[in-house]
């Protein structure tokens, strides 16, 4: 049945049709027809952010936590350009986000109209696909297509730019009759699976490295089955954290620039690496020429362009992590790697002193773990605290660690945590930031209050942009150029926003403050005043080999 409705209504209806239930956005001139129609669709909850960047990060957080598309909305010009960092973040971390932007009316495009910008051109390299809708008659198909593309195969962001007059244009609309069919994922050939299984059987020092693809593909059980059947130790990349249980005897930890010594040693000694859903990026491999010099690589990834892109591959398998790993488990003979695991254990170092004692990152994270019974989702920002959380937080459930990995976007945690909360209402969500990253998007506290979003905010305050300061200490002769950073009084700031604020300066106050913040019914902020010049150890210098870490002086 065809109805005649405006483009704005078509947009709303196709979003409702697709099951979208929350939008993060900010209105403005060129998107007003959409906002005029929106109140007629109560199933579309709109979260009014304080900056469009936060809308994109929140949509990203929602997508990562729910496994469904996250949607953000902005007006033309500055609204659209403010989305760019969030879209680039989602692009680097394969997150299905759909951004909807208003555009100036068609007759005005190309005239440098007020708030006109070529957002389609700007976002070409950081989106999987984007559209400038030229006629409302195309809009329903474009929205359906965009939602499908964002999720298909390796997920990613998609942008739909809709001129204001197209939003007002009335055309015939036919509701969709059924769900779109996702394209079938590629499947592995028997031959490649057999060759991979043969390599696993023959290896003396095999390792598994698992990344974000395992979380995106929901391949937890299969990955665990492969590890347990073969005894292969498992390394989780930054975005693979929580894809494999932290306390499992086969779990080694995170590799790369801030990986533990035994993890990187294991890579350097391995004769086989079975990589699942990771892209061997430079923070993982260090100097590529020196990476895993003895290892053959079996690489399983949904994106064929990743196979062999960074490391030479003995067997490349293009396919879904879950489906391929399941077949590989069946094809692999049971074995153990006890001698190899003992060798790796021999490389373990005692934990670095800066992690222990008083207001150490470990003590703070233990307090959060205890207050939430280990059942929270942690969203981290970028920097030292991000590495401490990655190394120290004992994740119990899959997909409970969310961070900006590829783009390394400071300011990500606070808005992304709002999206995580909406995807997992009723579950504790802690956004952990440094004092630098927190100040980038702290205005979102207002969004949390206005929309009733229960996000707990942890600020690791050391008065520095700590990771940059650490690099300056190690590589720039301790010249702390522009890294000391002043902070407001966070407790008073929280109070100004109407939320409880706690400052913890002594380890003795940790349990009480974290417990109270966690129990508060709405958002709450805890500032942790930590040592000013603590470092993240060990560290592989940029471009260095995994064999040559900088370690803490004992």
């Amino acid at each position: 049945m065809t109805e005649t409705v405006s483009g704005a209504h078509i947009l709303c209806r196709t979003l409702v049709e697709a099951g979208v239930d929350v939008l993060f956005g900010y209105p403005g001139g060129a998107i007003m027809p959409f906002y005029h129609a929106l109140p007629e669709y109560p199933s579309l909850r709109h979260i009014l952010v304080r900056h469009e960047q936060a809308a994109a990060h929140a949509a990203d957080g929602y997508a990562r936590a729910s496994g469904r598309v996250g949607v953000c909305v902005a007006t033309s010009g500055p609204g659209a350009t403010n989305l760019v960092t969030g879209l680039a973040t989602a692009h680097m971390d394969s997150s299905p986000v759909v951004a909807i932007t208003g555009q100036v009316s068609r007759p005005m495009i190309g005239r440098d109209a007020f708030q006109e910008t070529d957002i389609v051109g700007i976002t070409l390299p950081i989106t999987k696909q984007n559209y400038l809708v030229q006629d409302a008659a195309e809009l329903a198909d474009v929205v359906r297509d965009a939602l499908a593309v964002a999720q298909a195969g390796r997920p990613g962001p998609v942008l739909i730019d809709i001129p204001k007059d197209v939003q007002n244009q009335k055309v015939g609309f036919v509701p969709s009759v059924g769900a779109q069919h996702a394209a079938p994922l590629p499947t592995a050939s028997d031959d490649t699976i057999r060759r991979a299984a043969d390599l696993i059987a023959a290896a003396k020092r095999p390792l598994m490295m698992v990344g974000h693809g395992v979380i995106l593909g929901n391949a937890y059980a299969e990955v665990r089955a492969l590890a347990e059947k073969t005894g292969m130790p498992v390394i989780t990349t930054l975005l693979g954290i929580s894809a494999f249980p932290e306390g499992h005897p086969l779990h080694l930890g995170m590799p790369g620039m801030h990986g533990e010594v035994h993890v990187n040693r294991a890579i350097q000694r391995a004769d086989l690496i079975v990589g699942i859903g990771l892209r061997f990026d430079d923070r993982v491999t260090g100097n590529l020429a020196a990476f895993a010099p003895h290892a053959k690589v079996v690489h399983i990834d949904l994106d064929r362009s990743e196979i062999g892109r960074n490391v030479p591959t003995a067997v490349g398998i293009v396919g879904d992590a879950r489906a391929v790993t399941r077949v590989l488990v069946a094809a692999t003979a049971a074995r153990n790697c006890d001698a190899w695991r003992a060798e790796i254990d021999g490389c373990r170092r005692p934990q670095d002193a800066s992690f222990r004692g008083g207001m150490s990152p470990e003590a703070i994270l233990a307090a959060i773990r205890d207050a939430t019974a280990g059942n929270c989702t942690i969203v981290t920002d970028v920097g030292q605290h991000q590495m401490w959380v990655a190394k120290l937080f004992p994740y119990r459930r899959p997909n409970t660690h969310i961070t900006s990995g590829g783009l390394g976007t400071m300011g990500f945690a606070v808005p992304a945590a709002m999206g995580v909360h909406l995807a997992r209402p009723g579950e504790p969500v802690w956004a952990i930031s440094g004092d630098g990253g927190f100040q980038m998007n702290m205005a979102e506290m207002a969004t949390m209050v206005q929309e009733g979003l229960t996000v707990k905010l942890a600020v690791f305050n050391n008065g520095y942009l700590g990771m940059v300061r650490q690099w300056q200490q190690f590589f720039h002769g301790k010249r702390y150029s522009s890294t000391p950073i002043w902070s407001p009084d966070y407790v008073k700031l929280a109070e100004a926003y109407g939320i409880p604020g706690y400052r913890v300066q002594d380890a003795g106050e940790l349990t009480d403050a974290v417990g109270r913040a966690n129990a508060d019914p709405g958002p709450a902020l805890v500032e942790f005043v930590i040592e000013q010049e603590a470092n993240v150890y060990p560290m592989i210098p940029p471009g260095g080999s995994l064999s040559e870490p900088i370690e803490a002086a004992v």
């Binding site: 696909q129 593309v149 064929r304 362009s305 062999g308």
Partner: protein, 89 residues
Amino acid sequence: MTAEHTVDVLLDDTLLTLNRAVGVLRRRNLAVERLTLRPCGPTGVSRMTFVLNTDAATADRVVQQFHKIVGVRAVEVTTVQNHTPEEQP
């Protein structure tokens, strides 16, 4: 070793798809020796042909990136070693 790689791309004849395709070359700062675009077969499909003078691994990576573009239907590479005459068919 560098060689001449002729890359043939069948893709949707829309400006955005063409823009994305050229963007792959631009982002990698690749020296494109020739670039042609012409209609091909069914309506709405174009054939983009370009010649890269580069090593096989780089050419392969470019091809993989083209496969990822929404709207690209097929990619084919013909490689001509540089020491062979240009007059190959």
